[in-house]
């Protein structure tokens, strides 16, 4: 079997490239999940040629409120833990 080897500099470059692509892919997968979640929550009517006003503002707020929720939950749990100890 023939095997091809990249030199050290190229290997390093490829590692950096892959890490960056993986990070981007993780963000992208979060966007897919958020889209699905916010769609279920905000788009309640039959799809029209444009969003209803309420739907659009709901979608615009959805991500930020989800992230706020996540921060709030973490803060609350941390607060409870520090009270106990």
């Amino acid at each position: 079997m023939d095997n091809f080897k990249f030199d050290e500099a190229t290997q390093k470059e490829l590692t950096t490239f892959l890490e960056r692509e993986q990070a981007q892919a993780r963000i992208n997968s979060t966007v897919h999940n958020l889209t699905s979640m916010c769609w279920d929550k905000c788009v309640t009517g039959t799809p029209g040629s444009r969003f209803a006003r309420g739907e659009e503002s709901c979608l615009l707020n959805c991500v930020d409120r989800f992230m706020d929720t996540s921060l709030f939950i973490i803060k609350t749990i941390e607060g409870q833990r520090s009270q106990q100890s």
Binding site: N3, T30, T35, L59
Partner: protein, 102 residues
């Protein structure tokens, strides 16, 4: 994918190596793009089926098809909207973290 790491010649010139590196990178990029597109198609299918086909008949009706094509447009619009607000949020938090470190 593993094909990218193999070569027909065991000795390689620098330009050969650069070409192989490009091939690996382009392969990774296109696989990621393909996976993302598939995910989007599957999700759209699921969501729009749920919304538009409330009672499956013997074929898709005209109004169901209208609903589906609008639904597809709206879902893609939602994806772009969410993508924009999420990356705005991420960069805001990154800035905040940098400010806190100073």
């Amino acid at each position: 994918m593993s094909d990218f790491f193999k070569s027909s010649s065991s000795s390689s010139s620098p330009s050969d190596m650069a070409a192989k590196k490009e091939a690996v990178m382009n392969g990774v990029r296109s696989e990621i793009a393909l996976a993302s597109a598939q995910e989007l198609i599957n999700k759209t299918n699921e969501k729009c089926f749920a919304k538009c086909i409330t009672k499956p008949g013997t074929s898709l009706s005209g109004s169901e098809e209208t609903c589906l094509s609008r639904c597809l447009e709206r879902y893609l619009e939602t994806f772009n909207m969410i993508s924009k607000t999420y990356s705005a949020r991420l960069s805001r938090e990154r800035e905040q973290r940098q400010l806190n470190q100073i």
